[in-house]
Symmetry: none
DNA sequence: GATGAATGAGTATTCATTCAT
DNA sequence: GATGAATGAATACTCATTCAT
């Protein structure tokens, strides 16, 4: 999907890299099927390696989820960039929203990572950063064309995706495509042609706040992963 | 304790009912604060009863969550009914959406129940049924007045609530009120005044499907816990 | 040994108390045989209960060790008090040192608790406090009689015990009684009759420092046991 | 790497010896800081080699610790010999006791090896043997001068060191120098000038017994790791 | 020879649920 | 009926040791 596979900083031995890929693939499978509650033992079994191997590549469960997230964000970023090619600004934005929602709708693990997982670290921030310019450009262009309301911000886009992902998760067993209905609703809301009922009452989340949101979510509670000093205050 | 004194069944039931209420109240508190991950021991402690008592009243954790859900749905239904009093049809609908979203935004447990919990039984279906007429009436009236697009269905309303709840959960630590921004967007989408960008592409979830959705969600999935027999042979 | 069994603050149900005692006895056995590295599963198995039961009574492994320590300290305190009965001040001190070293020499678990375990909490401090008066009185009396050098402090006594325990641990398999040789040496060092080679070069550990020592030892690293706030400082 | 070029065995051994030294140095560092619980990966990383290389040079962790012990015993032996230079016999003995205790006090790993580690092989016995003559000579000379009690044996000296090491380990975080206090006490006990309270009650450990002690200590106990076969039958 | 990847039994701890008192 | 004691499978993660590259 995202062609040039982002290799882990230092090049791994060929077999190690193969295992790394196996693990990521297994994690994708297992998380997609069972959600993030799946055990790493399960992932390891699926990958045909020992748990130790999983832990050698990813310091903990959250990191594995992050890596997956990271990889998928690349795919989303690529989508955002591909969408720019679209001649019509509105069509470009819609195309991005639709394709990325399709991606979210078809991958339970990704959905859950998006909804719950996150990392106090740079990877996710980086990932977000990688997406942001493309999204901003899509949005600005549509706003410049007068096709999208001016009070919409770039950070609204991922949140809208998030809402659609929530619907997809909710109805996944019964009507996996029903999120399209709400995407259509949302698109109507984004149009600028009509006078909005009222100015949007809350400022958008700033990029900083987006990071904080991620850091405040469950999987992030990751205790100081590597030799961090821990001070304990008794209640 | 009062073993020898056999009180009439009625009275006992009254006593039991008091316990049941205590437990529900405690569960509300505890789940609201900590989400559904709170332990039943915690709930029991809050309620001032033993865990055993909780299990006497509710067959398992999911059922307790269901009962809570059930209760809150009553509150939502009441809200929907109160909203009818509003003279303006649009204002009535908005009032309902806003107040119920406020309720969801302030109660983590309820949010999680809405998002994940459910149990395939009649209680939840009944609960939904209780809400439906009021919601339908709110919606129909606003549609009749031409204030809301005609292709909106009654089942869309809870799903919109659900989307807002997802946002509230997501941003709870950082911007607990940001859901209002997306409510405003949604309201613009609901207005009928403007020509919709396109007809809504997916039919709404039917009431039956809403029930199925609940039945398909995590807390229900509880398969007979994996009880694998393990035989250990020493060398 | 220490007659009136110190009951856990709140009275336990009879069966629960029985289990508690079983667990303590099993822990004593197992720790004595294998040292503190024994697993709690092992202790539970020895006690004929499930691990969960052990965890119900003792929040973690260290607490179990503490409880044991606590119990034994009672026995030591009793010894110190019994020793007071001895008419001769020197004989009293020697009797205490000897009997308590015997106790340490015969119980590997106790030795290891003394050497490594400890608790950031009050139990151990309390335990120490329980012993201190008796030890101080034994020592002061012998010093008043001119039988023990004046520069010896009450906190030196437990440390001397500790040194003997270390020897006992070291030689346990080969010459379990050899500690007596070093006790005799030590006793000679304690005598005041002769002019000391030089004043003792380091001040004794103050009672406060004794507590700190315990708190700084491995088993204490016990992370905030119950809902303590944890602040994590990245390196 | 240099596969095709077959260097003479000697050269390889030289290279290997350099690695061996690196590993020992790294182990010294790491064990000194963190004690024997440090992982071999850590040691290897510090040494700038792979774990495999460590295993090529030392059959297991215990052997590495042994080798270190071995090396340090050399340093101790050197100390003992240097101490002989001291003109006064008592001063020579004190100098040795003090300097070797200082060494133990400043090296956690060495302390732990002394206290716990050992391996039933010849190396450690040899090491002990290397020290013995110097210690015996120091002691005999002081006894001949009438400065040290006659019933003291050469094997008492390492045990006294051991006791001081135990104190140093115990109080390391709070009062790292407090062992000097107990050294001073011990020195008073060693003096022959005064009539001993009583003859020492246990014979000293014989050199043979010293070896047995080492062989009986924890790191050796390593039983064939419990490898229990586990068969899991799903219901 | 050197490397570091792979292994997997082992550990402390949690929590839904059952059952004796 | 109520209580809370008991249970034990399950989970994330570690590390000594082996082995393919």
């Amino acid at each position: 999907m995202n062609g040039s596979q982002q290799p882990p900083a230092r090049l791994l031995r060929k077999d190690a890299e193969r295992n790394r890929q196996r693990i990521l693939a297994a994690a994708a499978d297992v998380f997609t099927e069972q959600g993030l509650d799946a055990t790493l033992d399960d992932v390891a079994r699926h990958a045909g390696v020992g748990v130790g191997t999983v832990y050698r590549r990813f310091p903990d469960k959250a990191s594995l989820a992050d890596a997956l997230f990271d990889e998928r964000i690349d795919a989303l970023a690529a989508m955002a960039e591909r969408a720019q090619a679209e001649p019509d600004a509105w069509a470009a934005l819609v195309s991005f929203l639709e394709h990325s929602a399709e991606m979210l709708a078809s991958d339970r693990g990704l959905r859950q990572i998006l909804m719950f997982a996150a990392q106090g670290h740079d990877r996710v921030a980086c990932a977000r950063d990688r997406m942001r310019p493309a999204i901003e450009s899509l949005l600005k262009r549509a706003q410049a064309d007068g096709q999208v309301r001016a009070d919409l911000a770039a950070t609204d886009i991922p949140i809208i995706e998030f809402m659609l992902a929530a619907v997809a998760e909710y109805a996944r067993q019964v009507r996996p495509a029903v999120w399209r209905r709400y995407l259509a609703l949302m698109l109507d809301a984004l149009r600028a042609a009509h006078p909005p009922g009222s100015p949007l009452p809350e400022p958008e989340l700033s990029p900083d706040e987006m990071v904080q949101v991620l850091n405040s979510n469950p999987l992030s509670r990751r205790q100081a992963p590597h030799k961090a000093a821990t001070i304990t205050v008794r209640p």
